[in-house]
Structure formats: structure tokens, C-alpha cells
């Protein structure tokens, strides 16, 4: 490594540290509302990093193949997470589970332009019956 490279790496580190420090200083860490259920469908570390892939995979499986397992369904997420202090909240509320992190990270999501962001009744439809 040349001296020039070393200097650049050092400056980058210093700058990154400064940016992170100032961000932490200015923006409060998100307060994540507790889910209604006992535990999530996967470990928090997995969900934090991969929830978008899991949701997208489930989305395609459901849409195109008609697979409707509940584990990674968006409705399932909302039924557990769309509560603050046991009160159901929609995405319009700043304290909504998805909102708190997504606003903190400044990542815009468009799921709820179509999908419901509130808990849903288990099934509003009539009881299942066999096809003729």
C-alpha cells in the first residue's frame, strides 16, 4: 500500500466515524413497538436483514403459484406487528412497526399503497365449503 492509499483509507475512516457520530447524535434511535405474539417467525437478526427478501419471495409464490402459507405472509406480519400499546395502528401512524425503522433508515416502502397496513380479521369470508 502506498502512502497515498494509506492516507485515503485513514481519511475515509475518520469521515465515516464523524458522519455516524453526528447521525447518532441528531436522530433518536427508533422505538420499536413490541409484537403481539410470543416470538417472530424467524430470529430477529434474520428478519432484520432479510425480511424484504422473505416477503418478496412469498409474494411471488402466492401471486403466481397460489401458495398461501402463513409464515411469511404480509397479513401475518400485520396481524402481529401493527399494534402500538395493544392498539391497532395503520402506516399513517409514525409509531407503526414498519415506519419506525424505515423512517430512521430513510427507506421508502410502497407495500401499503395497495396492501392493508392494519391487522385483519382472520377471515371475513364465509366458512369454507367444498366446491360443487
Amino acid at each position: 500500500m502506498t502512502a497515498q492509499h494509506a492516507l485515503r483509507a485513514f481519511l475515509t475512516l475518520v469521515l465515516a466515524g464523524w458522519v455516524t457520530a453526528s447521525a447518532v447524535a441528531e436522530v433518536a434511535h427508533p422505538v420499536i413497538p413490541k409484537g403481539k405474539g410470543e416470538r417472530c417467525v424467524a430470529d430477529t437478526s434474520v428478519m432484520r436483514r432479510n425480511h424484504m427478501q422473505l416477503l418478496k419471495h412469498q409474494r411471488d409464490e402466492t401471486m403466481h403459484n397460489g401458495i398461501r402459507t402463513e409464515r411469511f405472509s404480509l397479513v401475518g406480519c400485520m396481524n402481529c406487528h401493527a399494534y402500538v400499546n395493544s392498539q391497532p395502528v395503520s402506516i399513517k401512524d409514525e409509531r407503526h412497526f414498519c415506519n419506525v425503522c424505515h423512517q430512521y433508515a430513510a427507506v421508502k416502502i410502497d407495500c401499503f399503497e395497495c396492501h392493508a397496513s392494519t391487522p385483519q380479521p382472520v377471515s371475513a369470508a364465509v366458512a369454507p365449503e367444498a366446491h360443487p
Partner: protein
Amino acid sequence: MSEHQEQEMEGGLSRRQFVSAGAAVAVGAVLAPGVFLHSVAQARSPAEGASNYQRWGLLIDTNKCRTGCDDCVSACKKENGWGNEQVRDEQKVQWIRKVDLKEHHTGREVSLPMMCQHCAEPPCVDVCPTGASFKRADGIVLVDKHICIGCRYCMMACPYKARSFVHEDVIHGDAYMPRGKGTVESCTLCVHRVDKGQNPACVESCKEKAMTFGDLNDPKSEIAQRVSQYATRQIRADLKLNPGVRYEGI
């Protein structure tokens, strides 16, 4: 299938009967006696995908359908949450509509519901530039609104005027039928209900029992038996799209 081909097959087994008979024998050998693949497939678990063992279809008996009644339309609106859009008349959303026909020579009037005909060869799928318009393995034609860019080619390609474009923001109600501004939508044959083993909302709502929903591939189903016994018609059969929706009495 053309008349000529149908005549040729008379007397012998049709191809579909032959294939399903073969499947029944093959499965019958594996499973317990009396348990056949089609009965297993109908009670599908959520983890099991849609398969081409089934072809969902709808048979509408126009002799029973009442002029002026729009129970099926209201049921569809309620189930899928459309119809409250604040838009111009030209932009109104329409998943299903009632059509009244009159034969001028005889004066006979019939009324029928018109919706996506769930073609086996859907032109909306052919023209879609993004793959958003697609046919599921079990014959249900859908729009993947995640991929739809709202170009509306499919609306122009559909000979049944079955599709609508969402021009304004939607107030979303039902979690099982999300709708969004800037995408095309149409009858889904209530796919969320069908996957649970239920009938579409329009079929449930018809007091005259003019609509029959079922699996056209299952020779034991009511719909398959009726289409094999009675004269039914596909609308614009000349286009050879082979719609899954058939009509009786027109």
C-alpha cells in the same frame, strides 16, 4: 374444439377423458381404493400450489339469470372492494357487469353477467410487455400488480372489455384483494376464495343459482357434467381463445 373434431371423437373417449382415466388408474394403484387424485387436489393445502390438474371454469345459465338483477355485481364489489372510485364515468372500474341482449327477430331478451372469461389462450397475456398479465396453472388469468406498469395494452387486447385501470388512489379495505393506483385489474375468479376451497362471491350471491363454478378437468364435477350434457357456448368462440366461462341459453 371444433364441431368437426367433436364428431370425430364421438363414440370413443375424448382426449381429456382418456387422460384422466389413465391418471385415475395410475393413482388408484398407489393410493387406497376409491381415493383419486382429483379429490385430493380439491382439498389443497395452503403449501400446495395451483396445478394444471385443474381448470377452473364458470357456467352461466342465462335462462335463470334475471334482467335487472345485479346481485353478482354487488357481491363482487363488496368482496373485492371496487366501485367507490371518485372518477369520471369513462374511467369507472368494472370487474363484472350485466349485459342485456335482445334478439330483434323474435323479441327474446336475455340478461347475463360478463367478466374476465379466463381464456386458455389469453390475448392479455400475449401483449403484456412485463409479464404482469399471466395465467395461473389452474387456468385463472390474473394481473401481478407488483409488475404491472399500467400501460393498458391488455385492456385493448381483451375482446371482452373485461379489464379496468385504477385511475385514482384506492382506500384499501380487504387484505386479500389489494388494489393500487396505476395498475390494471379484472375478475380474479375470487382466487383468494378458490384457494381456500370456496366458491367465487358472485356464484355465492346468485339467488337464481344461475352460476356454477367448478373444475372443468374433473369429470365428476357438476360443471364438467353439465358442459358435457348440455349445449353451452363460449362468447366469441371464433377467436379460439377457449374461455373458461361458458354460457347456456344464448
